[in-house]
Point group: C2
Chain length 220, copies 2
């Protein structure tokens, strides 16, 4: 069991603090279940928020995506980032609009991201990115060569300053609204996979592997 | 048909520009299908990325969430934001890692957000936020009173500067990798609803309305 995440003025939970925590294991469970993150950074006065592939490697987050290329020039000195992973678990329909909400689990992490230069480290990070999205795929695919590694920018950011927000359960209407004549409850939401679509160039005798046909995200 | 989104140095598509566009109607379809956005902003040197509820009202985005409260103090002057909505449509398994990817549709919008002060405008924005998430719910719920409106911060941001990125279809392996002996294809992903969960305080004779039992997102 590792230490809790650091509490700072930046990640202090201000609104509805009862929904928040700094528990590192809970944060890691949320990160490990997610598929993409949204990464934010500034370039001069401009703010960018961009979807990226990511993976957790111990206490470090690695990220890959078009943002990495865009940032390549400024990366040598490290770039101040915020990264958010959100699972939307349900629509919460209270009788009153004011108490209506969403069930979700999110982690917001803050830190300085740098590009991985070392070829072996970059390869390990790409392996982690692949295994995060599709466990079992790395060893069953043609791994990157040196030229491809050179053309790929992978960011790494330590997981030190972060916070969790979670809402679960039914709506919580005020006593005075309990007789309002509308249905109240939760519409659950989840991400599911469909039937795998083979590459049309592929011989139809090639069957999808178990890591595709039994694909599932790690559960809480 | 409205004019295309404005192209600027900020939203110029740099990497894989063939995946990008500035088509306003396409951007609006992506926004209208999404459930939450990720909003990014700076406070001093710090960057924040936070999930928020949103809705499109014509050529304007309205947003609501804990970030709004956090920002309330700085909002009078308008705050520079970037807002991203992403649909993850599939995992793209190429034979080579380098060509492996994800199918997605995303919109990144840039602008200055301000808080809505006028009570009627705020009420209209809250209606739009509700109808975006659960069409049909607004008129079937207890709408906000003046006190609740006063306690709610809703942001509004014009949709002027934005860009779209989309990847669809099968993997695109290099010719030299086509004989690599692994399955290639796409694992489709989508968000689905589960069986509605009634509020346990509710009389079991209250049946869920059609907008809950037949819930679906607008399609492309």
């Amino acid at each position: 069991m590792t230490a809790d995440l650091k509490q700072t003025p930046k990640n202090k939970l201000k609104r509805l603090p009862e929904r928040g925590s700094y528990d590192r294991e809970k944060a890691y469970a949320i990160l490990d279940e997610g598929l993409i993150c949204h990464a934010g950074f500034a370039m001069g006065e401009d703010i960018f928020v961009i979807p990226m592939a990511y993976a957790r490697m111990g206490d470090v987050l690695v990220m890959h995506g078009s943002v990495a290329s865009r940032l390549a020039k400024t990366l040598s000195t490290g770039i101040n980032m915020s990264v958010c992973v959100t699972h939307l678990d349900g629509l919460v329909l209270a009788r009153s609009q004011f108490e209506s909400s969403m069930n979700y689990r999110s982690v917001v992490a803050f830190g300085n991201a740098v590009a991985i230069i070392d070829e072996d480290e970059k390869n390990q990070a790409l392996k982690a990115l692949t295994e995060h999205l599709v466990p079992g795929r790395w060893s069953d695919s043609r791994q990157p060569n040196r030229k491809e590694l050179g053309a790929t920018t992978v960011l790494t950011m330590p997981l030190q300053e972060a916070s969790i927000k979670v809402r679960t359960g039914p709506p919580k209407d005020l006593e005075k609204d309990m007789d309002f004549p509308s249905w109240a409850g939760v519409v659950p939401l989840k991400v599911v996979t469909g039937t795998p679509i083979p590459d049309p160039t592929q011989d139809s005798s090639v069957t999808p592997p178990e890591y595709v046909t039994n694909y599932q995200r790690p559960t809480r």
